[in-house]
Amino acid sequence: MAARALPARRRVSNAPDRGDAPSAVVSISAVHKVFSDGDQRTVALEGIDLDIARGAFVSLIGPSGCGKSTLLRLIGDLTQATTGTITVNGKTAHLARLARDYGIVFQAPVLFDWRTVERNVELPLELERLPQAERERRAREMLTLMELSGFERHYPWQLSGGMQQRVAIARALSFEPALLLMDEPFGALDEMSRERLNLELLRIWQKTGTTVVFVTHSIPEAVFLSTKVVVMSRRPGRIVDIIDVDLAQPRNDLTREDPRYFELITRVRETLRRRDTTQAADAR
């Protein structure tokens, strides 16, 4: 079970170990997803093959309607593939969900307004039936990590949008899931908050070693955050290219001025354009 060292307090699972090499946390092969609405059939995803290594930060980027959110939801077992297989930690996506392998952050924070910030973060821990003291300790730890100390007893409506999203991230990480799934988590925020949260997310990612799958439609954001950028094409959604982002770690504000950063942004943009001249994704 050596490969399961990260993150630290993982539950022991009966999943088969996938060998000595740092194995893929997520393995997607030949996945198709078709939505049927009456006799209307829409092919959302076609022939998706993707491996996501442990500890990677992978962004899915593409024009709207390219199925990037659908792919994320497939990984998280919030919807099921029409054909093909998805393996997470050596289990099916379904079993991985039952084993609480996923922390999910949506574009909206989806906080429960009858719970304080602290109790929102504790929610997944309550579901794990952890004792009160332990829940509180972990929630405080996560809130400190997200620089939300002092707001434990606040209710969600008392926080700004950016702070609410940080609470959502703290909640997603509180139970140390193997995989953090983020669906345009900063899409509703202003540019300043977004850049700040990008840095915080990277800091936490490095600290916890969590694997992240991150959906975005911002090319700079994808490049800045990721170790790999998966570029997708419009319907039917296909993976066009997987671009390795070899920017130095840890990344910081200087990274945004690195010539290599701009090169990579250009490369992602051109890949998107090449595949989709009708709707080139806007680099903002």
Partner: protein, 366 residues
């Protein structure tokens, strides 16, 4: 209280909404009046036609209840499709006319047909009004509006006791039924000419009013014997539907993503229920309970009437009503106590709601 809240949020309450609410309250009073008035004159009617108990029960409960239930569905569909204020006007006109027909009936069958018509038309009363109210008032005022609307039960009851009983005593049952028909018909005319009430709709039809409590009450007393249990059941019957409907809506109210989030935590159904659905339903339930708080008192009073309990409020109202000429203050005192109890329940629920919501939601701007 009503006026203050209205002025505090004039921008959000539809123009003329309070005026419309008063008219709907009066329509609902007629609703109660025409539903209940036959109970008042049951004895003379039975004597005149030589009716058996089961025939009387048929008139009072079955004929009314069956038609009320059957026509509830097509009328509910109509509520979604036609001009609601006109529909309400038609219905109040129809049920009032039907009551008048009962007053003119010279056979059991004619009386039965009249009662069935009353039942059929009354099914259109409450859903139409509640639907209109949901358009006129912003959510935070709806419970107040609905609570006010339900005062119609009390007003209708008062009309029966103060006017109907007197007419029945002095002039017989026929004039009593004819008089009972008058206010509804007048209202229908007012209605048709009321521009305020003509607005388009998205009704969340509250199907809570498909239960003719006056028709059900005597049956419950027979089944369960007179006593606190039958009174409690009748009262519960009156409050069950608003609370159930609100509960269902509340339980379905969580954001789908909140449910997906819970699913991603592999939360059990029980956890989803207790940690998401029930807390999300609480505001809905409080609103319904405020309505139920006042309705329950009305239910208890109605429940006492056929059960022969004389030491309760309902018994007292019935008793003092007979001695109204010699001691009017007693009846008024009983009515006052009934109102205070109702208001007390209402305030208790409001206090519980305030305690629950403390800090949790954004304060409403005054």
């Amino acid at each position: 209280m009503v006026g203050r809240e209205a002025s505090g949020s004039r921008d959000r309450v539809a123009r003329g909404a309070w005026y419309a609410l008063v008219i709907m309250l009066l329509v609902y009073s007629c609703h109660f009046l025409d539903r209940a008035v036959l109970s008042l004159v049951a004895e003379p009617v039975r004597k005149e036609f030589g009716l058996s108990d089961s025939q009387l029960g048929m008139l009072n409960g079955f004929a009314f209840g069956v038609m009320f239930a059957i026509s509830g569905i097509p009328i509910g569909l109509l509520v979604d499709r036609v001009n609601r204020s006109r529909l309400l006007a038609c219905m109040v006109f129809l049920w009032s006319s039907a009551t008048a027909v009962c007053g003119l009936a010279h056979s059991f069958i004619a009386l039965l047909a009249g009662r069935m018509a009353v039942g059929a038309a009354e099914a259109g009363g409450a859903p139409t009004s509640l639907s209109l109210m949901s358009d006129y008032f912003p959510p935070r005022l709806r419970s107040t509006a609905v609570g006010f609307y339900y005062l119609g039960n009390a007003v209708g009851g008062l009309m029966i006791f103060l006017v109907g009983s007197r007419v029945a005593a002095h002039y017989g049952w026929r004039p009593a039924l004819l008089v009972a028909a008058v206010p509804g018909i007048v209202l229908a005319v007012v209605f048709v000419h009321s521009a305020f009430l003509e607005r388009a709709l998205v009704p969340y039809v509250v199907a809570s009013q498909t239960v003719p409590i006056i028709a059900i009450a005597p049956m419950v007393v027979i089944w369960l014997q007179a006593g606190w249990l039958s009174v409690a059941v009748i009262s519960a019957y009156l409050t069950f539907f608003p609370v159930t409907i609100a509960g269902i809506r509340g339980l379905r109210s969580p954001d789908p993503r909140a449910l997906e989030l819970m699913s991603s935590y592999a939360a059990s159904r029980r956890d989803v229920l207790f940690k998401v659905r029930l807390p999300a339903a609480a505001p809905y339930l409080f609103t319904a309970l405020k309505v139920a708080a006042t309705a329950s008192v009305v239910g208890a009073i109605i429940g006492e009437l056929p059960s022969g309990i004389r030491d309760g409020l309902g018994g007292a109202i019935l008793n003092f009503n007979q001695y109204y000429i010699s001691g009017p203050p007693k009846l008024w005192a009983a009515i006052l106590v009934a109102s205070i109890v109702g208001i007390g329940f209402f305030l208790a629920v409001s206090a519980a709601e305030a305690a629950w919501l403390r800090g949790r939601s954004r304060p409403v701007d005054a």
